[in-house]
């Protein structure tokens, strides 16, 4: 960009000044002091930026009004006008397709300071630190001078500081977790970490408690087992204590059993015998003795009773006829009775016959004692009944005839009486009385009628009396007549009845008489049959008949008795013959006596029989005793192992003896069993069984249990020993129970503790605290990090620029400086502190000047000019450069070299050189033909030739 025209309508000394067609290269504006050079410098310096408030400018008459017509790089042009303190306004005269730049863009976006410092160079700008550039401003200047975007770099140190400061405020210099704003959250985290550590320790603690819990559980289990063992021991000892005496007795009895002396064989024998064998043997022993005695006694009695030596044969003979004897003997009394009866009947028969004959003679002497005649009379019971009936009939008919006769007589008398009564009833006087009475009544009527004529009332009364009397008469008459008639009819009927009865009785009387005659005839036949010659009364006939009948019965009874006697006789004979025969058989006597003799010797026979019977009984006793004895012996033999050559009694005694030994053995065994049973009873409860089992012995069945208990018993010497052990065990139980209680308490506490430790509450709480702390720490840490990161980035940028300036940035400035100084200085270098507004220089001899301060003023100005020209060259597109008496401190050589440098720069840049020094203008005139020269005098511009300006300025000088 270059300024084509400049119109200064109102600014300081200038009023309506026009600089038209300004040169594109060097434009020299020469004037004296106060001519307006510095004012023009300010105008050119601010043309693209306006006049900022607060900065001191020469006053305007009205308001600042400056306008420049600018040629832009691509060929277009525009106007830039500043009015007052407003920003410059860009206007384009030709609006086409050209790009419309803003005033900033026209000035390459360079800020005012940069433009000021680089492009508008007065002596001030060529100082190390220009005026009013303290602190940060100086750094900015340095960045401006160094260029390459170091405009931003100027902020870096401060920003870096700010960031670091901000970061430090948050987390101190080092960002240590426990400082500044981090501190509370870090503390919370650390606290959380400690809490978590403790909570994590819970697991170890839990394990420890769990281990202790397991240990104590084991202790409790062991303790409980021990307790159970002790309790079992107590149970065992208790049982043993209670059964010790029984155990002792049992032991004693078992010794007795072992010493019972019974052999094994005997034991076996006795074991094989049925129960009660000993009692049986004991029973047999006296029985056998008694049977033996009885047998001997019977034998002797029989021997004494019978005749003969062969007692057994005799006994057998008796026994052979035992039935006969018995039968006969059983009949003996009957036989004797029968014999006695026979003899009595015989006498009775004789007596009856005599009585019958006497009675026959009384009844009918014609029979002459001939019993047959009586027997021939036919008298049977029918006939007797008929006779009795006829006699009774006869008596009844006779009585009836008499009754009938009397009855007829009575009836006849009654007939007569009735007839008389009837007669009386036919003549009655009461009727006459009535008639009289009737007549009186009629009279009364009529009297009444008559009286009525006189006295009505009296007549009427009398008349009524008469009428009543007539009525009464009539009523009485009627009732009386009717009852009499009835009575008379009754009497007549009665009479007829009596007459009829009389006739009936008479007929009946005749019939009765006829029947009585018939019966009389029949009775007559009975008389004849009975052989009664003389007539006798029916009553007598009846008695006779009964006597005959009785007689006949007596005769017949006697005859039957005789018949019976005959039978008895036969039977007696038969029996007696059997007795006789039996006697013969027994004693050899043959009684062949006739029967009669037998009857007469019956007593002898009977005596024989009785004796025989006695002997038989003796034989039977003997036989019985022998059988009994044999039976017993057989029984003994069944029981006892008997040999024939042995004495059975001894054998039996021996048997009994061993039996008793065996019984005693058995008794002991039973006692032992009872004791064992009692002990077993004590062992029966499950707790006792368990207690015994705990000793490690088999107690699957009762026997094993008892065996274990017996073995246990043997461990103790006395009941006192047992009690001592019992008490010791009880004591141990108490101690152990106390221990177990304590263990259980501890276990419960441990359980609670374990439950508490098993929770994750503390862990959660700790973790929550840590997370919370970290969550709150994070934004702080991020802010800290971001600030530090920004500072870091800026520091890196800063370092990078230092490197860069060393190598490239100042190389061009070095060349310019070398040229200006004529090679006296070779190189410009940035300072150690980049942003320090200073440069190092290296002389041709290689000396390093650490700071510009040590350079001469001219050299220093040359240095800063070189740096600026270098920057001006770098910045594209080019902008106008303004030099305000910049070279005054240069010597001629340096001016000359600097002018050459500027003229070279003027190829690309428009350069305003404001000066009051003719020499400088002269140098320019000598070296450049293209430069434009303006004379400035009191705020007025005039375009002049170079030489004119030299002269103008020289003149003045």
């Amino acid at each position: 960009m270059r300024i084509k025209n400049l119109y200064i309508r109102d600014f300081g000394i200038f009023s309506n000044q026009r600089l038209e067609e300004l040169g594109s290269g060097v434009v020299v504006i020469g004037g004296y002091n106060r001519a307006g050079k510095t004012t023009l410098l300010q105008i050119l310096r601010h043309l693209g930026y306006g006049f900022p408030r607060g900065e001191i400018f020469p006053p305007a008459r009205g308001k600042y009004d400056v306008e420049g017509e600018l040629f832009l790089e691509e060929g277009s042009s525009c106007n830039l006008r500043i009015s007052g303190l407003a920003e410059p306004v860009v206007s384009y005269s030709q609006k086409g397709n050209q790009q419309l730049w803003s005033h900033r863009e026209i000035y390459n976006q360079l800020d005012l300071l940069t433009y000021h410092q680089i492009y508008t160079i007065s002596l001030d700008e060529l100082q190390r630190l220009p005026k009013n550039f303290p602190g940060r401003e100086g750094e900015k200047l340095q960045s401006i001078l160094l260029g390459a975007g170091l405009g931003d770099l100027v902020l870096i140190p401060q920003l870096e500081k700010n960031y670091l400061k901000e970061a430090e405020k948050i987390g101190g210099k080092n960002g240590t977790p426990g400082v500044k704003e981090f501190k509370p959250y870090n503390a919370a985290i650390r606290e959380g970490l400690i809490l978590r550590k403790e909570a994590l320790h819970q697991v170890e603690e839990y394990r420890e408690k769990q281990t202790r819990f397991d240990e104590i559980n084991l202790e409790i289990t062991t303790g409980e087992e021990e307790l159970r063992s002790l309790q079992c021991q107590v149970t065992r000892l208790d049982v043993l204590k209670n059964n010790f005496a029984d155990c002792h007795d049992k032991g004693r009895l078992e010794i007795l059993i072992n010493n019972s002396g019974i052999s094994t064989r005997e034991m076996e024998i006795w074991n094989g015998l049925p129960p009660g064998s000993l009692e049986r043997a004991r029973d047999l022993s006296p029985r056998m003795l008694n049977a033996s005695k009885e047998y001997n006694r019977c034998f002797e009695r029989f021997r004494d009773a019978v005749v003969g030596d062969n007692i057994n044969e005799l006994k057998e003979r008796y026994l052979t006829h035992k039935e006969e004897f018995t039968t006969l003997f059983q009949k003996l009394s009957g036989l004797q009775e029968k014999l006695r009866n026979y003899q009595m009947n015989e006498e009775d028969c004789y007596r009856q016959e005599a009585e019958i004959v006497g009675t026959m003679d009384q009844l009918n002497s014609n029979w002459r004692g001939d019993l047959r005649k009586v027997l021939e009379i036919s008298i049977d019971s029918l006939q007797q009944d008929q006779l009795t009936q006829q006699i009774e009939q006869y008596k009844e008919l006779f009585t009836k005839r008499r009754v009938l006769e009397a009855k007829v007589q009575d009836l006849k008398s009654e007939e007569i009486g009735l007839i008389e009564v009837l007669r009386d009833k036919g003549e009655d006087g009461s009727e006459n009385n009535l008639l009289r009475y009737f007549g009186v009544s009629v009279l009364f009527v009529f009297g009444g009628i008559g009286l009525s004529l006189i006295n009505v009332w009296a007549g009427l009364l009398l008349g009524i009396a008469g009428i009543v009397g007539i009525g009464l008469v009539q009523f009485y008459k009627y009732s009386t007549e009717s009852s009499l008639q009835v009575e008379r009819r009754g009497l007549k009927n009665q009479l007829i009845s009596i007459r009829s009865q009389i006739e009936d009785r008479e007929r009946e009387l005749q019939k009765t008489c006829h029947q009585a005659n018939f019966v009389e005839n029949s009775l007559q036949k009975y008389r004849q049959n009975l052989g009664i010659d003389t007539p006798i009364s029916p009553e007598l006939l009846k008695d006779y008949y009964r006597q005959i009948q009785d007689l006949k019965r007596d005769i017949m009874r006697m005859q039957r008795l005789e018949e019976k006697m005959e039978l008895d006789y036969r039977e007696l004979s038969q029996q007696l013959e059997r007795i006789a025969k039996l006697m013969g058989l027994l004693w050899g006597d043959n009684l062949q006596s006739p029967v009669r003799e037998l009857l007469s010797s019956s007593d002898e026979l009977f005596a024989f029989l009785e004796r025989g019977i006695q002997d038989l009984n003796l034989a039977l006793d003997l036989e019985r005793s022998e059988i009994v004895l044999n039976d017993i012996v057989n029984e003994v033999k069944e029981l006892v192992d008997h040999r024939e050559d042995e004495d059975i009694v001894d054998n039996l005694d021996r048997f009994i003896k061993t039996g008793e030994s065996y019984a005693k053995y058995q008794e002991l065994c039973v006692k032992v069993e009872v004791l064992q049973s009692q002990i077993m009873q004590s062992l029966k409860p499950d707790r006792v069984r368990d207690a015994m089992a705990l000793m490690g012995v088999e107690v699957n069945d009762t026997q094993q249990l008892f065996a274990a208990f017996e073995e246990y018993y043997t461990r103790f010497t006395s009941v006192e020993d047992v009690i001592k052990h019992y008490e010791e065990a009880e004591k141990s139980i108490n101690i152990l129970e106390e221990k177990l209680k304590n263990w259980r308490d501890e276990r419960q506490s441990l359980r609670d503790e374990i439950d508490r430790l098993a929770t994750t509450e503390n862990l959660e709480k700790a973790q929550h605290q840590i997370d919370q702390g970290r969550a709150r720490l994070r934004p702080l840490a991020e802010r800290y990090a971001v600030n530090n990161a920004a500072a870091f980035l800026l520091a890196q940028i800063r370092k990078g620029f230092i490197e860069k300036t060393k190598d490239t940035l100042l190389s061009q400035a070095s060349g310019i400086f070398r040229e200006v100084t004529g090679g006296a200085y070779q190189q410009i270098m940035p300072p150690e502190e980049l942003m320090q507004t200073d440069f190092q220089t290296i002389t041709a001899k290689g000396l390093v000047q650490e700071t510009a301060e040590i350079l001469s003023r001219g050299t220093r100005e040359q240095l800063f000019l070189a740096v600026r020209i270098s920057r001006i060259k770098e910045i594209q597109p080019p902008l106008p450069v303004i030099l305000d008496d910049t070279l005054v401190n240069f010597d001629s050589q340096h001016i000359s070299r600097t002018i050459d440098l500027l003229l070279e720069l003027a190829r690309s840049h428009q350069i305003f050189i404001l000066t009051c020094h003719s020499q400088l203008v002269k140098y320019i005139v000598q070296r450049s033909r293209d430069s434009q020269y303006w004379q400035l005098e009191d705020g007025r511009f005039s375009l002049v030739q170079g030489e004119e300006l030299v002269d103008y300025l020289s003149y003045t000088i």
């Binding site: 800020d111 931003d152 819970q202 170890e204 862990l763 990090a785 890196q796």
Partner: protein, 453 residues
Amino acid sequence: MSKEITFIHAADIHLGSYIHSTNLSAELNKICAEATFEAFRNVCDAAIEYQVDFLLLAGDLYDQEAKSVEANRFFNEQCARLQKKGIEVYLIAGNHDPLRELDLFQLPENVFLFGGDCSEIQEVVDQQGNLLARIIGQSYRKRSESRKMYSTFTPPDKTVWNIGLLHTQLAGQNNNYVPCSVTELCAQEGIDYWALGHIHQCRLIRSRDPVIAYPGIPQGRDFGEVGVGGCLLVRLGEKGYVSNINISFIPTSPIILKRIEVSIDGEKDWEPGNLADLEDLITTRTKQLLQEDLIVSGSLPAAEVREDLCSGFIVQWVLTGRGTINQLLREQTEEVEAILTENLRQRLSTFRPFVWTDSVIIHTGNPLPDLESLQEREIFREIKGIIDRIINDQVVQEEFINSIGQIWEWQTDHENIDEDKLQLNEEILREILQQAEDMIIEDLLVGGDNYED
């Protein structure tokens, strides 16, 4: 002939550790406290559902900072569930739960814990006693392990699938977590599948010969572990066929952490003028979030996601971009962040799955009039250049990190952080640099203006 086996490869359960979000509601606090448990339950559910032969846990079952009896109990309960289904669990101790500390806990019967002194081989057999696979593993003895323990993982033959169970950072230079490289693992003869643990992102390093895989963490716990966590369902068919290796990702995390950037100058013709506008902007973004596919598991196919898997999101909203609202936001940044956070919590409280605003971070800037020309300015080019160097040049980066204070530490080891410091990673570094750059630009502009004035 090798038989087909199916197993689940999980790692870094960090059972009992918490989701590091603050000021949660009581309900969310409970959900978050149970999230790692729930995630492991999901792992076990998957094991049961897919009827796997066994479950591999490649270290860090417990978290060194969250060891608890409850975690141990829960693990035992889950293993008991697996035991009922006949599923064995093979476990190695990692740097968080080295053997030295793991012995505090009781292990269930169906869990085999590899020893720490030398590698051990466990043979997996079927019900008939046929050998199905071998698992070779070794536990950490202490919190760091510099032993190249994988070099002793030598199976006796190749007849069946041989699986190496290792907890490593897979970094040759890292001596804390079994230094090794992919090449070294590949060179280990006979191992078909390297079941790795330690890195909390799901990574399929190699898909064959041998397979090298990290399942990642089943439940992320902070904004360094964002996204859906899970485990790997691995089906190995007959050996020798690539197609017989089938690996899929099973998502398990009930809670998904997200760090979502919302730009205030994303719209061409609109920018938020006040906080309400910002909330609207974030609400719109939330709706988008809920419609997005949850699973981002790289090249691995994902198993079917249970509808009820995701309980919700915990989101850190990062406001970026430039706009006039920045002035408002920057006046009192922390207060504004707090207000926005609280308002968003209220506003998004009805969304299901829940969307909980963990925090709002303001990284916005003032609008710049002519950004392009600014960017051409020397100093800004310089700044960019320096930032590039910080990011790419290790020396400069270290110098930078040293300059941002001891409160920060470079997160070389995500497993072993100093919690009273904040951890720096590349992302945070970039953010800090970005903010620093923005701040410088603004300040330079302001400073420039001041000069002009």
